[in-house]
């Protein structure tokens, strides 16, 4: 359970879980929503996987992530979102996303 609390304490990881609530996504699709480097995102995915909140599967050259949260864990995520667990507030993370959306697309392959 400690790993679950640790995973939910970070706003970026919570946002990843929120995105995966809609549908399974590839690592690239998920990373596009954040203004952080790919290694940082990989570290976040590793923490979430270690906590057993997401599962990954390789499909060709891409890795697809899917949510494997129990109802209790989802309720904890809801609490974490509401009360803003962790140091950084949700607003700050959203700010990052807005900045990313405004930034012109980088030519990165």
């Amino acid at each position: 359970m400690d790993k679950v609390f640790k995973a939910l304490s970070d706003p970026t990881r919570r946002r990843v879980l929120q995105l995966l609530r809609k549908a399974p996504m590839s690592a690239g699709e998920l990373s596009d929503h954040f203004a952080v480097s790919k290694p940082t995102m990989s570290a976040h995915f590793a923490v979430l996987q270690e906590a057993g909140l997401i599962a990954s599967q390789r499909s060709g050259r891409t890795i697809i992530y899917g949510l494997v949260m129990s109802v209790l864990e989802e309720a904890l995520l809801g609490f974490a979102q509401t009360f803003g667990w962790g140091g950084e507030s949700e607003r700050a993370t959203r700010g990052k996303h807005t900045k990313l959306a405004r930034r012109p697309a980088r030519e990165e392959t």
């Binding site: 599967q57 697809i64 129990s70």
Partner: protein, 221 residues
Amino acid sequence: MTLNRISSRAASALPLVGIGLALANWNARPAEARAWAIAVVMLFVMIAVRYGWQLALRRSSERNDSSERAAIISAALIRIVGEVNRGVVFGALMMVISLALTLAHSYGLVDVPRGGRWTTMTMILVGAYLAVLGNAMPRQLPPLASMQGHGARVQAFQRLAGWTWVLCGLGFAAVWLAMPFDEARRVAPALVAAAMIVTIVEFARLVFSLRKLRLHGQNLN
């Protein structure tokens, strides 16, 4: 592995024992025919669900497909069959115990006081079990490779079913904890029936939408 074999054997035997006991109860107390008929139907549903999954597993292993996707689907089916077996064992065991006690009571072998603390405790445990089952439901993610294009629908169904059964289980336990015996006997089954209806309707909608999606894909090809 041995545990899986034991649960598989128990899952085949217990519903049949339950059906035998329900028929014996029917014979002993024909006035309550409706209750025994419901018990028989529930046990037949358990048998049908179990054999349905086993058939799916057999078909999947008979198919000479050595692709990675087929291996993943087969592994998921093995896991699901194991889960179904365990569920059938628990559900059938609960029914067998209560049917055996009722039958023994009908023949004057044991004294089971109506509305006793024992029944209430059992029902609270059943409610807790339903909540635990519901809690784990969204974790039973089918292989992501098999969800291409419709992962969101499958995931949404699993989450809805999970929440429905958690709330149903907690409600069921709360009803038996707080309400008088006769009222709890009316309200608790209604909660389970409501959860079943929600799950079945949503499952039918999921199957319908997946079939539509598949047909649409075939038309495009």
